[in-house]
Amino acid sequence: MDLTLTKEEEDFRDRLRAWLHDTLPRLPPEPPAEDWPARRAHDCAWQRALHDAGYAGLHWPAHAGGQGATPTEYLIFIEETERAGAPYVGANFVGLLHAGPTIAAEGTAAQRARWLPPILRGDEIWCQGFSEPDAGSDLASLRTRAVRDGDSYVVTGSKIWTSHAEVADWCELLVRTDPAAPRHRGISWLALPMNAPGVTVRPLRTLAGTTEFAEVFLDEVRVPVTHRVGPENDGWRVTMVTLSYERGTAFAGEVVACRRTLARLARTARANGRWDDPVLRRRLGRLHAEFTALWRLVQWNTSEAAHAARTGGHGNPGPGASVFKLRYSQARQKLYEAAAEVLGPESLDTRHEWTAQRLSSLSYTIAAGTSQIQRNIIAERILGLPRGR
């Protein structure tokens, strides 16, 4: 048990801090939330800056063009960039955290050469085409079909909950290539060029009134067979190898941000007088315990991943990530409920950042596996209870 940084880790942190201190003041201001092209440009410029400073693909293996950093260094990176108020990964999320690692792990040399460098340089943006309107939590029931026709697949179907679809160059797409096979078989992973004929993107309005997601309609879209990563009909496995990233460190930066928000809630409550209400004050105190422990859980999971990486494992957060995801999603919702309490009447005004966050927090117990699904995973895969029916 040791939470202190090694000399190497401290050096890494110090260099990063110095670079952030130097670089961030020179960045242009954040563009408006709904101006997608401007946000793409902003996010790509930040990725390019990271690339040029040697921070791109920090946690990617060296053979994929990454820096081969340890999970601990990657966590330091997340913590320091968040603390310094650096831009979020934004439009580069899917490329850096899922599509890229998938190609790195399962792609051919040619595929790695084609797709990975532009991701790392911030030249190309990826989006994710997994969810479907009729599939929901039951991802394996996806129905988008891909029929082989010569050197191409002809793809027809629709995808939903796709972020950055309007500005993406590529989409990592799960399609059904063998309709007769059992649910988890017969699925393949394709890289879909978003400018291919037959691709239509329609923004999806969420209850927050924003359009951070889109629906993607695919009408006989031709995708070259060479764009398939991994064997045909093996796409489920190909995807799952890296999907758990989404449930692991992906939220680490958010925990740092939540802790800062919580301190701001206290400051605001003190300023507007609500701090004198012990019910609210103790609620904030309990949230402080919650987020402190969640951060420790992140460090715990990171240590396990670092150990696995050292001993030749995947560095895959595995089902234990469900424990974190389940609790974090609830805690985030409680945080913004408390924020509404702190704000009082102002919480009914969506111009307040916390009100917008309160609305978007409602998706956390649903997206990337509902809380119900996470509990099933914990019960069956960690606790070894019999398969629920």
């Binding site: 048990m1 040791d2 939470l3 202190t4 940084l5 090694t6 601990t72 108020g85 800062r260 919580l262 301190a263 701001r264 809630l265 206290a266 400051r267 605001t268 003190r270 300023a271 701090w275 004050r281 103790r282 609620r283 904030l284 105190g285 309990r286 402080h288 315990a289 919650e290 402190t292 422990a293 969640l294 420790r296 859980l297 460090q299 715990w300 990171t302 240590s303 396990e304 670092a306 424990v323 389940l326 609790r327 009447p345 102002e346 307040h352 950042e353 119900q372 996470q374 099933n376 914990i378 019960a379 069956e380 960690i382 606790l383 070894g384 209870l385 019999p386 398969r387 629920g388 029916r389």
Partner: protein, 352 residues
């Protein structure tokens, strides 16, 4: 940074589990719970065995006869003690090692108090550590009863394995009956809270095991109850509570002052919740069988209630954490999120 246990720590934990399995098997727990005259005094043989194994002297320096280990190791041992529901004033006696002669060797059980309320094992302890001020004090026991200065009376303890007194007051220093000892009382109180949290943690994980093993074995409506989503989800939330508490307790054992104060408060808060709520859910998973005296669940629940009331209450911890938050906020830059400080009802923006 490597949060995982070292090999030495794993070995230490395994040793403690082995010791308890040998010297304090379940039958011993059950026989204590069934004592007709109420909860018995701690078993002096077992106490001595713990002393010989270095349990109480764990954190004393080697030149003082200790193992020179720290809070992380202590937390692992207390987690095992909590798991096995080992009774006795374990926390107070470890705190007293080096302060009260015999405590480190397991020859002298010591109990402790930080304020009026309940005191455990008061009649059988040989000394009482008083931690209500800056300086720690030691009150010697009165054979067969509670020291008069505490104005205590015996309770019929809700925990069948822990005798309790209700204590009306602590003697005010300077007081002839209690001698000051060279220790920082607030620090000892924090350590007591942490070690108590570690016991809660052990209990919280034990009730997860009990619930899961019951849910696998017991059949209802033609299948194991663990195949019902309602039961699965109860068990899943139990594990999550225990894991979160573990992260908090272990981290608190590593934290330096002053972060340690808030980390320990968080650990106590989360471990108390995990122990109490897991015992409750474990009972629910067991159904009627959980409501019987024969099941161990109630022993976990009752001990968890008791420990939750000891050292730092939830209200204490929450208030402490809230104030820490405010101090942290004062170091924050206004930054890009400055809107939190504005009052939208201010005079400049009225009447549109």
């Amino acid at each position: 940074m490597d949060f995982r246990l070292t090999d030495d720590q794993r070995a230490l934990r395994a040793g403690m589990r082995g010791l308890l399995a040998a010297r304090y098997p379940r039958e011993r727990l059950r026989s204590l719970a069934d004592c007709p005259g109420g909860p018995p005094a701690p078993d002096r043989d077992l106490w001595q065995a713990l002393g010989e194994a270095g349990f109480f002297a764990l954190r004393l320096a080697e030149q003082d006869g200790g193992a020179g280990l720290g809070l992380p190791e202590a937390v692992l041992l207390f987690e095992e003690a909590g798991r096995a529901l080992l009774p006795g004033p374990l926390v107070a006696t470890q705190l007293a090692a080096g302060l009260v002669p015999g405590a480190a060797e397991g020859a002298c059980p010591v109990t402790a108090l930080d304020r009026p309320g309940t005191a455990e094992h008061l009649a059988s302890a040989e000394a009482v550590l008083l931690l209500d001020g800056r300086a720690a004090r030691v009150l010697r026991a009165r054979p067969g009863g509670a020291p008069r200065a505490l104005r205590a009376r015996p309770a019929r303890s809700v925990d069948p394995t822990t005798p309790l007194h209700l204590v009306r007051q602590l003697p005010r220093p300077p007081d002839g009956t209690a001698a000051t000892v060279p220790a920082d009382a607030p620090r000892l109180c924090r350590e007591a809270a942490l070690l108590t949290a570690a016991q809660q943690l052990g209990s919280a994980f034990r009730t997860v095991e009990l619930a899961v093993s019951h849910a696998r074995r017991r059949s209802q409506f033609g299948r194991p109850v663990g195949a019902f989503q309602a039961v699965q989800h109860l068990c899943a939330e139990m594990l999550v509570r225990a894991e979160l508490a573990r992260a908090a307790v272990y981290a608190a054992s590593l934290a330096a002052e002053p972060e340690g104060t808030a980390e320990i408060a968080a650990a106590k808060l989360l471990a108390d919740s995990a122990a109490v709520r897991n015992a409750r859910d474990c009972l629910q998973v067991h159904g009627g069988l959980g409501f019987t005296w024969e099941a161990d669940i109630h022993l976990h629940l009752k001990r968890a209630w008791l420990r939750a009331s000891q050292w730092q209450s939830a209200a204490d911890s929450e208030e402490l954490l809230a104030n820490t938050l405010l101090r942290e906020a004062s170091h924050l830059p206004e930054g890009p999120h400055a809107s939190d400080a504005t009052d939208v009802l201010d005079a400049e923006n009225v009447t549109a």
